[in-house]
């Protein structure tokens, strides 16, 4: 018999999932997740999620882009082949600014996208929740709450009852 991944229940509207998430967090569950077809306003606070780490990646990208741009222009126009243009200085912070600015934004954007994938551990083309019979509705118009078996408070019977109490239906046990 394969291991249990967790128990999942379906909810019908954002109001229900919001309150279910709040109650689940207050009950002290730690290893659980909610599924929504769109970002529900305030749900991350109700779940007690910490601020996202994506900005770190954005900053790293932007910082790298800025210095790459500066170094590139200095190397190309002031060091390797100093270009004489109207007697102007070989390097100053003014003329390379557009290039530095654009490269900052470019690498910051790459950092942001990479950061989103890294913090979400995507791509991951299979996850136990995709075996849920109602999974297709989670990207359409229904909401779900999944409590994982690795949670210290998890108990197959009591967790199912807890989810039913919250107002969930179509409760299923997911296998790994």
């Amino acid at each position: 018999m394969s291991k249990i991944h967790g128990v999942i229940a379906l909810f019908d509207n954002p109001h229900d999932i919001y309150h279910a998430a709040k109650t689940t967090r207050e009950a002290g569950y730690l290893r659980w997740d909610a599924f929504t077809p769109f970002p529900v306003h305030g749900l991350d606070k109700a779940m007690g999620l910490k601020r996202s780490r994506v900005p770190v990646f954005t900053f790293l990208g932007g910082f790298t882009g800025f210095w790459v741009g500066t170094a590139m222009v200095w190397y190309m126009n002031a060091f390797d082949y100093p270009l004489v243009v109207g007697g102007k200085p070989f390097f100053s912070p003014i003329f390379p600014f557009p290039v530095m600015y654009e490269l900052t934004i470019l690498l910051a954007a790459f950092g942001t996208l990479a950061g989103m994938f890294i913090t979400n551990r995507l791509p991951r083309h299979h996850h136990p929740v995709m075996d849920y019979s109602q999974f297709a509705r989670l990207t359409d118009d229904k909401f779900a709450l999944l409590i994982e078996a690795t949670d210290p408070q998890f108990d197959p019977e009591r967790t199912r009852a807890f989810l039913a109490e919250l107002g969930g239906h179509s409760i299923e046990t997911l296998q790994e």
Binding site: H15, A21, P37, P39, V54, V73, I105, L106, F117, L122
Partner: protein, 480 residues
């Protein structure tokens, strides 16, 4: 009790007395459509058999796009003499077309990024097609700077455009706005694609989950990156989205500023003016919204999207067009004023010449299309007449092409020394190459319509009244 605690306790009492009225807002989704209706409506467009009109449109678009293909082949094989450029006008249709297409792209980024930061919920119905328009417009735009070099294979290697050393081991000149353009436009194209793609990941997951055929499951599955609608993922996604919006805003403002520097940095009368950066950016947004209206209004009728692109959406788009058109009109007046006030005879001449010289015909087309036609949007009756709005949007696009033409050609054709003056005309190759780019754009846009969800329906659900967790559940209708 402290003053603060008293204030907190007082508020409920006052509210009971006053009972402020609930301010009705026009709903973003009309007729109380539920989430499933929205999913079915948008996904239905790309599921099922391809409609006949799509094939017909694709054939026409491919035929028109071939004009560009043939024009460019002829250009590269024969030489840049096939274009109409001759002394003193060495910048002609190519740069006008380039600025035209880049400008159109800017509205997509404005809708996605700037309206997102300004928390304008109505953007969700039009942001995906507008971003698609941006990506495809940039693709059309880059054709011109790449091919105008003549020996196109040198544009990449060795570096006419990109920073690789050329045959004499010389690097590009980073003091030139033409080089800044390379970085600005490449960054703009890349970031637009990234933002567009990231925005569609949740919707691609929906298409994957609804797919019945294996190839669709695999294709959309790969593109959706395993998205499973997890709330923890949404938190990171929303942060990334906000960051990309925050990055794209200064990007869009800087890109057209740098494009305007192609002109403003030069010393020609009519070009060398500090109003160019904000004037070009406002003009770009103006022309871009014209193109968004041109594209979205027929799609709205064709796919019966009236509940998702409501009169409120059209009103907002018309008002932004009006606002930016007014800014452009103001810029025209200011240029004239500063030319007079600055007492520079060359500058004064440049503007008199635009209005009354050999290109007066182009100038007055520009004025009537850009200054007069958007002012019609003050009137509600006109904004509610969809056919008329569409016609005005076409005028906006025509007018903005002529604006770039007037700026580029009049200052070059009639510059400092009268003995250098001459009249510039495009050749057949110029004309066909340009009109072909509309075909190229149409081909890309038709492919987008066929394979990618037309609207950001996850975002639309999020801003609909029933998407709010604090909204009390009302009876939802599901009329066909």
């Amino acid at each position: 009790m402290s003053h603060h605690e008293e204030a907190v306790l007082e508020r409920p009492e006052i509210l009971k007395e006053i009972r402020p009225a609930h301010l009705p807002r026009r709903p973003i989704v009309e007729n109380g459509r539920d989430f499933h209706w929205i999913t079915e409506k948008i996904c239905g467009i790309i599921e099922g058999k391809t409609p006949v009109w799509w094939w017909v449109a694709l054939c026409v678009a491919l035929m028109v796009a071939s004009y560009t293909g043939i024009g460019l082949l002829y250009l590269v094989s024969t030489g840049t003499g096939v274009w109409g450029l001759k002394s003193p006008v060495f910048w002609g249709w190519a740069i006008v077309n380039f600025v035209f297409w880049i400008g159109i792209g800017h509205a997509g980024t404005l809708i996605s990024a700037i309206l997102c930061l300004l928390k304008q919920k109505w953007r969700t119905s039009i942001n995906r097609p507008a971003e698609a328009m941006t990506v495809f417009a940039v693709a059309c735009a880059v054709i011109f700077p790449v091919f105008h070099t003549g020996r196109v294979w040198f544009a990449l290697l060795p570096g006419y455009l990109f920073p690789f050393p050329n045959a004499n081991a010389i690097w590009p000149n980073f003091r030139s706005p033409l080089e800044w353009d390379v970085f600005a436009v490449s960054t703009y194209g890349t970031v637009s694609v990234l933002f567009w793609y990231m925005g569609m990941i949740p919707d691609l997951a929906t298409v994957r989950d609804r797919a019945t055929q294996k190839w669709r499951q695999v294709l959309y599955g790969i593109l959706a990156m395993g998205w499973r609608a997890s709330a923890r993922h949404w938190a990171n996604y929303e942060m990334a989205y906000l960051l990309l919006a925050g990055l794209s805003t200064p990007l869009v403002l800087s890109v057209h500023t740098i494009v305007s520097f192609d002109f403003a940095v030069a010393n020609l009368p009519g070009w060398h003016t500090t109003i160019f950066p904000p004037y070009f950016v406002a003009g770009a947004i103006f022309s871009g919204f014209g193109m968004v209206l041109t594209l979205m209004l027929p799609l709205r009728s064709l796919y019966k999207l009236h509940d998702l692109i409501t009169q409120y959406h059209i009103d907002c788009m018309c008002k932004i067009t009006l606002a930016t058109g007014s800014m452009v009109g103001y810029a025209y007046a200011m240029e004239f004023f500063i030319a007079w006030y600055g007492a520079n005879p060359y500058e004064q001449f440049a503007f008199i010449n635009r209005a009354f010289g050999p290109y007066a015909w182009a100038y007055w087309i520009m004025i009537s299309c850009n200054v007069i036609s958007p002012q019609l949007f003050w009137f509600k009756k006109i904004r509610e007449n969809t056919a008329l709005v569409w016609v005005i949007s076409i005028f906006v696009n025509v007018g903005m092409w002529f604006e770039r033409f007037v700026i580029t050609v009049t200052s070059l054709a009639n510059d400092f020394l009268t003995s250098s003056w001459d009249y510039y005309s495009p050749t057949v190759v110029d004309i066909f190459t340009f009109f072909g780019t509309f075909g190229f754009f149409a081909v890309l846009f038709l492919l987008f319509l066929r394979f990618i969800p037309l609207m950001a329906f996850a975002e639309i659900k999020a801003v609909s009244p029933q998407g709010d967790p604090h909204h009390h559940a009302e009876k939802l209708t599901n009329r066909p």
